[in-house]
Amino acid sequence: MLKLKNWAIENVIHGIDVDFDAGRTYVVMGANGVGKSTLLHSIMGKPGLEVSGSAEFLDVEISDMEVNERADMGMFIGFQAPTSIPGLSNFQFIKQVKELSVTDIKDNLTQFKDLSSKMKLPEDWDKRNLNTDASGGEKKKNELIQMLMMDTKLAMLDEPDSGLDVDGIKTLTEQLNNWRTKDNTLIVVTHYDKLIEGLNPDAIFVLKKDHIVGGDKSLADKIFAEGFDSV
């Protein structure tokens, strides 16, 4: 799915090699400030980051591609703090992004309302403005709705659990597990043991300045017990 070779971000990460395979779920951990978010955004192609090395997504070199071109290929990033767009409603946004035809609107709205009610979002969530006057947790739920409604092949979620209440985390875990198939890939940055437990990831990656330490779930247990310096 995604292959990083000697991938570096100036002043953040010095050359890492890592593969993320189809049908797998990865949890990325690392000390505060080590560059976990930046790593995800560099893969998405955020402007302003000086990157080098190679990134192949679905066997295509993407490092020179525009952000929207990567998105069109099926890459999705769930923001830690999604930005607000006043005057644009949540569903209007989905409509625009998916370029829905008149005939598709109804089904999509049904799906949207179904998801937002599952996530215990307000009744009129479709009409609320995108990430405007929403709580941190609500914004995260909205990111999840977007991810599920788009044709996502690689989902990179940056602390999707932060701001969520207990029920929210349960729904998040369920929805992500439902979404997983043998053809897609999930990368989750999190510090939260319950979410890691619920997702039962195929691998844990611990991000260090110039390399990645990989392992199975026991690696997370070790970190929770002994801290990041232990690995």
């Binding site: 998405m44 955020k46 402007p47 302003g48 525009e66 952000v67 929207n68 998105a71 069109d72 999705f76 990033i77 923001f79 999604p82 930005t83 607000s84 767009i85 006043p86 005057g87 644009l88 946004f93 625009q96 992004v97 403005n129 995108l130 977007q146 788009m150």
Partner: protein, 481 residues
């Protein structure tokens, strides 16, 4: 004869129409005015009105209080009258029809212009008056409107057929001596739209005037007069475009609205005059005086404008709220880019008791442009319980400038006046967020700007909202990067 595309990619309407025209030679003196009046076979009182204005104008100075910076206008270099040669209603030159087809004037209107018969059971939703340079070339659905007693025609026709109505109301809201450009207009106005909605009549369709400047070095001075009698309602739309010429074209219009008791006028404008090229060469100078007088009790006027065009815009659609309980509204979206300069806003003059006004202005500026909101709210001593709410938001990008200049005076202690203003930039974070969902930069920009303008776009008539949206997206194309 053909329509030449002047190859201006960014301004789709920038072509000119090669049509034979009758024009007056450049220059302005008393004789010019007598000629205009003679061509139009005007009554003596109107010629007197013009000459009085001209004398006044000669003694006036061009205003320089705005934030605008432009090459001085040489009034003697302009032609004050230009009209296509064949111009009887049944004989509209095909080039002109082609022009309006190209400009996308809605189909049913084109059909009507072409005289195509429609199913008589289908009631049209829009009637249109088309003004090409100095003359109105066609007005559609006049018969249908006549059934309701509505008069919708060119002002020249109105002078001939309804002289009393015109004489009684012309210059009543904007006196001939009002300001430099209005006074010039009073002297040399050539055509425009006249509209009268009788007592208790709700106009069954949108009335639309489409203004097109075509001739080079010609000033367009149109005059619009709308009278809404007691308890009537009308929604009126105007659209404007011009070819992309290197020279600056002057447009100095006057629009007067008169509202009697319980009358309502919704006046919407999509202004897309040629803005000049990216170096600021050419473009329309748009110096317009628009004013509504809420003469009657509980009358209501709404000005809604979407302004994307002109090199220079100087325009303050105003409301004189005289009737008790009358309401004035101003909703505006003004977009400037390149070297464009807009100085626009409104004046809300509260004279009557319990009068209310609302102002929502959205300024969006790109490139090296300047976008100024200038708004006055004045509460006179007699305006007990007057209310005003003003909200001005600016969105800036690149090196552009946005200014908000409010003038607020209240001479009545019971008045409540609120003013909110905000200024912001489109953030890289917002663009990145939308792009990460698969939108290209232009679409992302468009969504952000549309969201920013939402509370104004919601006020536009449905048919116009789509047009405004499209216009905005064309304007924003390539604005970033």
């Amino acid at each position: 004869m053909s329509i030449d595309n002047l190859n201006n990619e960014k301004y789709e309407q920038g072509f000119n129409t090669d049509v034979e025209a009758d024009s007056l030679p450049p220059g302005l003196d008393e004789d010019t005015i007598r000629q205009i009046s003679a061509i139009k076979e005007e009554p003596q009182w109107l010629l007197d009105f013009r000459l009085k204005a001209y004398k006044k104008w000669l003694a006036m100075d061009e205003p320089d209080w705005s934030e605008l910076d432009y090459t001085p206008i040489d009034y003697q270099a302009l032609s004050y009258y230009s009209a296509p040669k064949t111009r009887t209603k049944d004989d509209i030159p095909p080039e002109i029809l082609e022009t309006f087809e190209k400009l996308g004037v809605p189909l049913h209107e084109r059909d009507a212009l072409l005289g195509i018969e429609k199913d008589p059971n289908v009631i049209p939703t829009v009637a249109v008056d088309v003004v090409f340079d100095s003359v109105s070339i066609a007005t559609t659905f006049q018969t249908e409107l006549k059934k309701h007693g509505i008069i919708f025609c060119s002002i020249s026709e109105a002078v001939q057929h309804h002289p009393d109505l015109v004489k009684e109301n012309l210059g009543k809201v904007i006196p001939y001596s009002d300001n430099y450009f209005a006074t010039l207009n009073s002297a040399v106005f050539t055509d425009g739209t006249f509209c009268y909605i009788p007592k208790g009549v709700r106009c069954p369709m949108e009335l639309n005037t489409y203004f097109r400047i075509n001739a080079r070095n010609t000033g367009q001075f149109e005059r619009t007069l709308i009278i809404a009698d007691e308890g009537s309602y009308v929604s009126y739309l105007e659209g404007c475009t011009a070819p992309a010429y290197d020279e600056n074209t002057l447009h100095a219009a006057c629009v007067e609205l008169i509202l009697h008791d319980d009358a309502e006028i919704k006046y919407s404008t999509v202004q897309n005059w040629y803005p000049g090229d990216e170096n600021g060469v050419g473009g329309v100078y748009n110096f317009v005086t628009k004013r509504a007088k809420c003469e009657g009790k509980n009358s209501k006027v709404s000005w809604t404008q979407v302004e994307t065009g002109s090199a220079v815009t100087w325009k303050y659609p105003s409301c004189i709220l005289k009737g008790e309980g009358s309401v004035g509204e101003f909703f505006s979206v003004a977009v400037t880019k390149g070297k464009q300069q807009a100085d626009t806003g409104t004046k809300m003059i509260h004279l009557g008791k319990n009068t209310k006004s609302t102002v929502i202005s959205k300024g969006i500026s790109f490139g090296d442009s300047t976008n100024t909101y200038r708004g006055a709210v004045k509460v006179n001593p007699g305006a007990h319980n007057a209310r005003n709410y003003t909200k001005c938001d600016s969105l800036m990008l690149q090196d552009s400038r946005a200014l908000t200049i409010p003038y607020v005076t209240s001479e009545n202690n019971s008045a409540m006046i609120e003013h909110e203003a905000s200024a912001g930039k489109i953030s890289d974070e917002q663009l990145y967020y939308l792009q990460s969902r698969g939108m290209d930069e232009d679409d992302a920009m468009n969504l952000i700007v549309n969201g920013f303008c939402k509370d104004v776009f919601q006020k536009l008539p449905l048919e116009f909202a789509a047009e405004a949206n499209k216009l905005l997206s064309v304007t924003l194309e390539g604005a970033v990067g």
